[in-house]
């Protein structure tokens, strides 16, 4: 009997655009059942790393293994929530139909969603508190509401692994609380969640583990180990307002 590995492993991930490396040789590994933040300055390759890990953009080198399997073997267990600015908000689609998309991965080709799928989509909408908006077109919602709808879609996928790209950008405090509460519930159910994030103030409250990246890896592991002034300063290449950084000016 082989032991099933309960980890997500990034191995030597390297990505470049037209010869410029934007992610360089990133390797790290995390146990499943954790909420993991991917943190770094603007343009550090956070989203790129996530997309390359999922095989959504070409990479030069490296691979990702989830529970010992290559990524293409576990695709249906992956729920991905894109950055808000990647979505065409004028698309003719209603809130409830966006959530219904989450049931597609488990419906074979040629098969239409059934009544039971629609009911499940509504339950997912209720979980994010958006059921009253189910018949709205998505552009009629606020940023935070839109993000909650996309989280509902991810919930509808019944996935084991969640990848969220900047879910907290430009949303209201209430929506942010709803989203982080649900992410923590998912984590408590044993799901593994990766979140690209750039607001350092809440890192310690939100995440169990951290990936600190600025092209290269500057730290990976439990938040209390990685989220240290010296790591942060090296990664951000600047003083970030922690007391120890008030040193001599050069």
């Amino acid at each position: 009997m082989s032991v099933i590995k309960r980890t997500v492993e990034f191995n030597h991930l390297t990505v470049s655009y037209y010869g410029n490396e934007v992610v360089r040789d990133v390797s790290c590994s995390f146990d499943t059942g954790n909420l993991i933040g991917i943190v770094g300055p603007n343009g550090a390759g956070k989203s790129t790393m996530m997309k390359a890990a999922l095989g959504l953009i070409p990479k030069d080198d490296g691979h990702v293994e989830i529970a010992g399997e290559p990524i293409h073997r576990v695709r249906k267990e992956i729920a991905y929530v894109p950055q808000r600015n990647n979505i065409d908000w004028d698309f003719p689609i209603l809130v409830k139909d966006v959530v219904l998309l989450g049931t597609y991965p488990h419906r074979g080709i040629f098969k239409r969603p059934r009544k039971k799928d629609r009911e499940w989509a509504m339950q997912c909408l209720e979980r994010v508190g958006m059921e009253d908006f189910c018949n709205r077109q998505i552009a009629e919602l606020s940023g935070g509401q839109q993000q909650r709808v996309f989280l509902a879609r991810a919930l509808a996928q019944k996935a084991d692994y969640f990848f969220l790209d900047e879910p907290f950008v430009g949303i209201d405090v209430g929506s942010e609380e709803v989203i982080i509460r649900i992410l923590k519930q998912l984590r408590d159910q044993g799901k593994t969640i990766f979140v690209v994030h750039h607001d350092l103030s809440k890192v310690e409250n939100y995440f169990d583990d951290l990936i600190l990246i600025n092209k290269e890896l500057y730290g990976a592991g439990p938040v209390n180990k990685v989220f240290q002034p010296e790591n942060m300063e090296r990664c951000f290449k600047m003083r970030i307002g922690l007391p120890s950084s008030l040193g001599v000016e050069v």
């Binding site: 959504l56 992956i78 729920a79 979505i87 065409d88 003719p92 597609y104 080709i109 040629f110 239409r112």
Partner: protein, 283 residues
């Protein structure tokens, strides 16, 4: 009413009637996906790129349908190859490839001394449709409608959120090229109705009109097909009655329907929105 008597009496008119309705429907259906995926320019490119295919088919003595499909697909592959392997953006690579194909097509057609009339391919003449063309159009129509029906779920999710679709394992590249093939088929079927130059209007205008009226993709597709077919029928009637070229008239009818909805559609209409903001000011 003369038109309808003639419609009963003349076979060429019946053929024109059936062909243009089918073209209106399939252009509306595929056009819906073209505008939602931001591929309007691609539609224009493919329609021009079938020209060399038509010429080569004529030289080989085969139905122009086959050559057109081949050059249409080659064009979309060529455009993809340039934009993926260089820093040249998609719209620029479209411009490069489709102009080249169009130029090649014109040279082939003129130098072949062929019986193909360039004007007819460029601008269409639905009244000269032959029985074999009607059959091609009907077959294309069935293929396109069946494909959209069967793959509706996949087309919806990949058009709305391609990254999510790719993340859960959908072959989005295949879907893209599948749409390109359907687009080529639709273009070929439209050659005689509106011609190469104006196909883009039949793809975009009815679908854009529908887009103004609904918040659901399925409704949009039906409305676009309806507006496409209606433009064809009304256009054919006007062109026959007043002895005007069919393609341009059909296009202008589609444009007139668009203009009406642009001004008066309940939700997106410009007039309606002006009234609403006035009412708000009063209140």
């Amino acid at each position: 009413m003369e038109f309808f008597q003639d419609l009963m009496a003349y076979e060429f008119l019946q053929k024109a009637f059936i062909t243009s309705i089918m073209v209106g429907i399939i252009c509306g259906v595929i056009g819906s996906f073209i505008i939602l995926r931001g591929m309007a320019l691609m539609g224009d490119a493919i329609s021009h790129a079938v020209l060399p295919g038509v010429a080569i088919s004529y030289m080989l003595g085969i139905n122009f349908f086959y050559g057109a499909v081949v050059t249409g697909v080659l064009t979309s592959l060529g455009i993809g190859a340039i934009s993926q392997n260089s820093r040249i953006k998609n719209d620029s690579s479209i411009g490069i490839v489709f102009a080249a194909m169009f130029a090649l097509g014109i040279i082939l057609i003129t130098s072949a001394q062929s019986a193909i009339d360039l004007t007819q391919i460029l601008f269409g003449n639905v009244l000269s449709v032959r029985t074999s063309d009607v059959i091609v159009t009907l077959v294309v129509g069935v293929v396109v409608l069946l494909a959209v029906y069967l793959f509706y779920k996949e087309l919806l999710v990949s058009s709305f959120d391609e990254t999510m679709a790719a993340a859960y394992g959908l072959k989005v590249r295949m879907i893209h090229y599948g749409i390109m093939v359907l687009l080529t088929l639709v273009t070929v079927a439209s050659l005689q109705t509106v011609g190469v130059v104006l196909v883009i209007a039949m793809l975009i205008t009815p679908a854009a009109t529908a887009y103004l009226l609904t918040n659901r993709l399925s409704t949009m597709i039906f409305l676009a097909a309806f507006f496409g077919a209606a433009s064809s029928v009304i256009g054919l009637y006007v062109s026959f009655t007043y002895n005007l070229p069919s393609g341009p008239v059909i296009v202008l009818v589609a444009t007139a329907i668009f203009a009406f909805m642009f001004l008066f559609s309940p939700k997106q209409g410009v007039v309606g929105r002006m009234l609403q903001s006035n009412r708000r000011k009063v209140a």
